[in-house]
Amino acid sequence: MSYSIFSKKVVNTMAQPMFFGDAVNVARFDKQKFEMFEKLTEKQLSFFWRPEEIDVSKDKMDFAKLLPNEKHIFLSNLQYQILLDSVQGRSPNIAFLPIVSLPELENWIETWSFSETIHSRSYTHIIRAIVNEPGAVFDDIMKTEQIIERAESVSKHYDELIKCSQAYLLHGEGTHDLNGDKTTIDLKCLKRKLYLTIMSVNILEAVRFYVSFACSFAFAERKVMEGNAKIIKMIARDEALHLTGTQHMINLIRDGKDDPEMTAIAAECESEVINMFKEACEQEKNWAEYLFRDGSMIGLNAEILKQYLEYVTNIRMNAIGLKPLFEERSNPLPWINHWLDSDNVQVAPQETEITSYLVSAIDNTLDDSDADFGDFKLD
């Protein structure tokens, strides 16, 4: 077999698995196996925003007044987010598009990855506004050991999957010489790499971003760096959508609604996955230590951030049917939800109105003809 960008084979996409079935040829959305992915795409499109719309001019004055340890916290977080979005701006496309088999999922992956490129551009917008030499902030990323170390953990599953699926698409199953490296490729081990990659992306978007989200919002709670927080709020809103996308893929697999072989792999990988969550949470805790090495900031310290990380990790594990790693607890940073909840997200000018409707409790004394009252639109 070899990969074709438009295979001539006529396939029924309704009978395809999400990945590693036949390649998508016609981009058609008239019938869909998993409609959720189209809904995610539509939502993402309605979220469209541009960093230039957000005024960050006051942040320059605020930044100048921050204490040196606060500047370290602020810039390091941005640098880390730059790394994460550099990865996310390209890798869903490179890793998943060649192996996806459903048009609606293909479309979601492209829309998802595109929105990450907006995040990347927004960091330049912020940094240009607050420092005189933006170049130095970017150059330092590759010199900061704590960031580079984590670049390795967020990209290693992607890299493995990309290497092996490219070999598979070129040569099929078998033992191949990859740059002098004899590598055996079989579909089952590829699917395993795929599952772990989806999981690692889920962890990236659902856990790893949250330390820096918390710091950005903590600055804005004190009314400083508010332009930045507005941008981060838009990013957090996008990320909540992205992480729902990977959770949805994982749950379809785990619940046996997609490829049965993937379901079996998910069961086999369970303890490995739990370890991935544990490891990521640990790494993020170390990052919190690094951020606060020269001192805390008002409203946040390394200890409380670590508790928040455990809380977030639990929630994310729960959402994909895994037993939470840490003791159940209430949110140690309750104010953060004002920034993460949908009601408080400012709508961008091009976003259409949010519709709400009335829902009434089911009244058993009413008959079915009254049931459509539940769809009553208020606005």
Partner: protein, 87 residues
């Protein structure tokens, strides 16, 4: 003020009094009734509850809901309500 009767959610049965300005999810959290959730934006469906009595105003969401089901993160009470777990 509205009364929210919590009917055995995560082991809790109690009544809360709220202004109706925040989502039911946030109200429950503030009263220490812990509820499954993830996105807080109406995408994932983790926070689904049953509306047993009363009316809520519900924001649009991506999750298909059956009759009487609401997402705690997307709804606010507009009358006194009673809510319970789906299963």
């Amino acid at each position: 003020m509205f009364k929210i009767d919590v009917d055995n959610i995560n082991g809790k049965t109690e009544s809360l009094y709220v202004y109706g300005e925040q989502s039911i999810l946030t109200e429950l959290e503030e009263h220490n009734v812990l509820l499954n959730h993830s996105c807080r934006q109406g995408h994932c469906g983790s926070c689904v509850l049953l509306l047993l009595q009363g009316d809520v105003l519900h924001q649009d969401c991506l999750v298909p809901l059956s009759q009487g089901e609401i997402l705690a993160c997307q709804s606010k009470p507009i009358t006194d309500i009673k809510i319970g777990s789906r299963n």
